[in-house]
Amino acid sequence: MKKIEAIIRTHKLEDVKNALTVAGVQGMTISHVEGFGRQKGHQEIYRGTEVKVSFVPKIKIVAVVQDAMLEKALTAIVDNAQTGKVGDGKIFVSDVAEVVRIRTGERGEVAI
């Protein structure tokens, strides 16, 4: 089982969610985050004084998938979150030790 953590542009959420659902990913969790990568934020001016905006608002999607589903999920995210401009985001994939469905107590891949 793999955990996908995808950091994407805020306005790409609907597209990515729909694509993941079509690809067969059953569920996901999102959070509103801020961050920067090589984009390093940007410069604004407020009342004549520079505001260094280091952290840019993004959406983080966390989804746990079966190993077989991983490539389809990654393709769905990349195709729909991409704009070609700096700031498109990143995906981190890690191994998941255990999954539990709280309602029934089921464990393992069936609990995803």
Binding site: I45, Y46, R47, G48, T49, E50, V51
Partner: protein
């Protein structure tokens, strides 16, 4: 703490003793309002009105006309009093405008505290003004004939200098009691009080996000009881600035139609003193002195607040005719709105050209700057001048914001010093330049309409300049000393860790946004 309590108790007792001194009411005072407004108020009301002799002589031959004159006089006064009160209610609503503008332009973690200061300044200022501020300011003003009399306000403390009387402060009307319990005087109190509170709320903007609520409350009493009233007496209460024309030939004496200096300069200069003693917010200035921007948390709130202020300003300026029957009110109102438009547009264009974008927070400030600047000259200028005064105010505002932040190194979160202090002074000077001679015959006891430098009379500008200098010196010295001394008794500034976390819960026992994750 005990010393403070003892001092405050003693002060209140002392004022009570002064207040009950005129134990019996003045025969002319009428709290019921029944005898106010009569045939004598018809005399001189219009160019074609009957004279006092006309009415006396007609009593025998035209008894009905004399009775009708009584009702007409009553109605004339009624129109004026209703106008003054209604405009006073509009100005009261500006408190909401200030509260929303200041809170919107400051950070979310302090929203409760910023709103609380703007809220509390209303009752505190009102009670201070009721106790002694109004008496000091208007106690010797002679009342207001247009709203029915108030002649019990006849005690002005004067000194004699250079062979002339210099009025310094009034002494009738403490606790609105004794002879001050009169329908006219009460209406005057309401109208004057809401103007005073506009002044009192200005420093809360410059001192937001790090001022202790306790020292703010003490400030609220001090400015409403003493500082605002004394300068106010000098300009509006019959004091020495208003008689500079009668006494020394300086135009019509100091003229400030609705309070560019009495209200806005006093507030702005007090804000300078307070911001100096208080110091900047943590993180505002770097070690090398360069400033950091701290954007406001709620722009829709701030701009709505500015619209509410513009709405209330119709009461502020047009109400200052003190007469609904003074048909200059349309000119006053239009000049007011035109100046606001000029200020908004010029500040927008300035920021657009200078920084590539029209910064709406500066535009909102420019909008208010135009309103502040037109407040003194609104009744005396034409529409082209009004627009011009506003346009210049907007540009002055932008330069002032940079000057205050980068040169004076003062932290003014909402631009209060630049909007009210700088443009209050500009408004006074503008009157001395642009007054066009179409209004003001007889003001401050000087015959003829009011003319500024560009219309042939430089002496009015001289009077205006004296007022500007006097206000700056008087208000700054008194308020700086007050804040310095107060800081020794109880700290002006919250503790550093409290300031980092936000003032709301610690200072006013609430969180403005308890259900939201906010940046701290």
């Amino acid at each position: 703490m005990r010393r403070m309590k003892t001092f405050v108790t003693a002060a209140i007792l002392a004022l009570l003793l002064i207040g009950i001194h005129p134990l019996r009411g003045d025969a002319a005072s009428d709290p019921s309002g029944v005898t106010i407004g009569s045939a004598s108020d018809v005399v001189g009301a219009t160019p074609g009105a009957p004279s006092a002799d006309d009415i006396k002589n007609m009593a025998a031959s035209e008894p009905l006309a004399v009775k009708l004159a009584d009702v007409v006089g009553h109605n004339r006064i009624a129109i004026n009093m209703v106008w003054v009160l209604f405009c006073g209610f509009l100005v009261m609503f500006m408190q909401a405008g200030f509260a929303l503008a200041e809170t919107g332009f400051t950070r979310a973690k302090n929203a409760g505290h910023t709103m609380a200061m703007n809220f509390m300044v209303y009752p505190v200022g009102m009670l201070g003004f009721w106790m002694c501020g109004f008496a000091i300011m208007m106690g010797g003003s002679g009342g207001a004939a247009s709203i029915g009399g108030g002649s019990a306000l006849a005690n002005e403390f004067t000194i004699n200098l250079f062979g002339k009387d210099f009025g310094l402060f009034g002494s009738t009307g403490f606790f609105l009691s004794g002879s001050a319990y009169d329908a006219v005087i009460f209406s005057m109190f309401l109208f004057q009080m809401v103007f005073m509170d506009t002044t009192a709320t200005i420093p809360t903007g410059a001192m937001a996000e790090r001022w202790t609520f306790k020292s703010f409350m003490i400030y609220g009493f001090f400015i409403s009881m003493f500082v605002y009233p004394i300068y106010g007496n000098w300009v509006w209460g019959g004091g020495w600035l208003s008689t500079l024309g009668k006494n020394f030939g300086f135009g019509h004496g100091v003229l400030d139609f609705a309070g560019s200096s009495v209200v806005h300069m006093t507030g702005g200069v007090a804000a300078v003193a307070g911001a100096m003693v208080l110091g900047p917010r943590l993180g505002k200035f770097n070690k090398d002195g360069s400033p950091n921007a701290m954007p406001g948390h709620h722009i829709p709130m701030a701009l709505t607040g500015c619209f509410i202020l513009a709405f209330g300003w119709f009461g502020f300026n047009a109400g200052s005719t003190l007469a609904g029957g003074d048909l200059r009110i349309g000119v006053v109102a239009v000049n007011t709105m035109l100046a606001s438009a000029g200020g908004a547009l010029s500040s927008a264009l300035f920021m657009w050209f200078r920084y590539g974008k029209p910064d709406i927070s500066m535009i909102a400030n420019g909008f208010l700057a135009g309103l502040v600047a037109i407040t003194a000259p609104c009744a005396f200028v034409n529409s082209v001048s009004a627009v011009g005064i506003g346009v210049i105010a907007g540009i002055l505002l932008c330069y002032a914001v940079f000057f205050v932040e980068r040169k004076m190194k003062l932290d003014d979160p909402v631009g209060a010093i630049s909007v009210h202090g700088i443009n209050g002074a500009w408004g006074m000077i503008a009157l001395g330049l642009f007054a066009d001679g179409t209004y003001g015959d007889g003001l401050n006891g000087v015959a003829g309409p009011v003319k500024g430098l560009f219309y042939g009379d430089g002496s009015q500008l001289a009077a205006q300049s004296i007022a500007v200098v006097t206000n700056i010196i008087f208000v700054f010295v008194v308020m700086y000393a007050f804040f310095k001394i107060l800081n020794k008794i109880t700290p002006l500034r919250v503790a550093a860790d409290l300031e980092e976390n936000g003032l709301d819960m610690a200072e006013v026992a609430v969180n403005a946004y308890p259900e939201f994750n906010i940046n701290r």
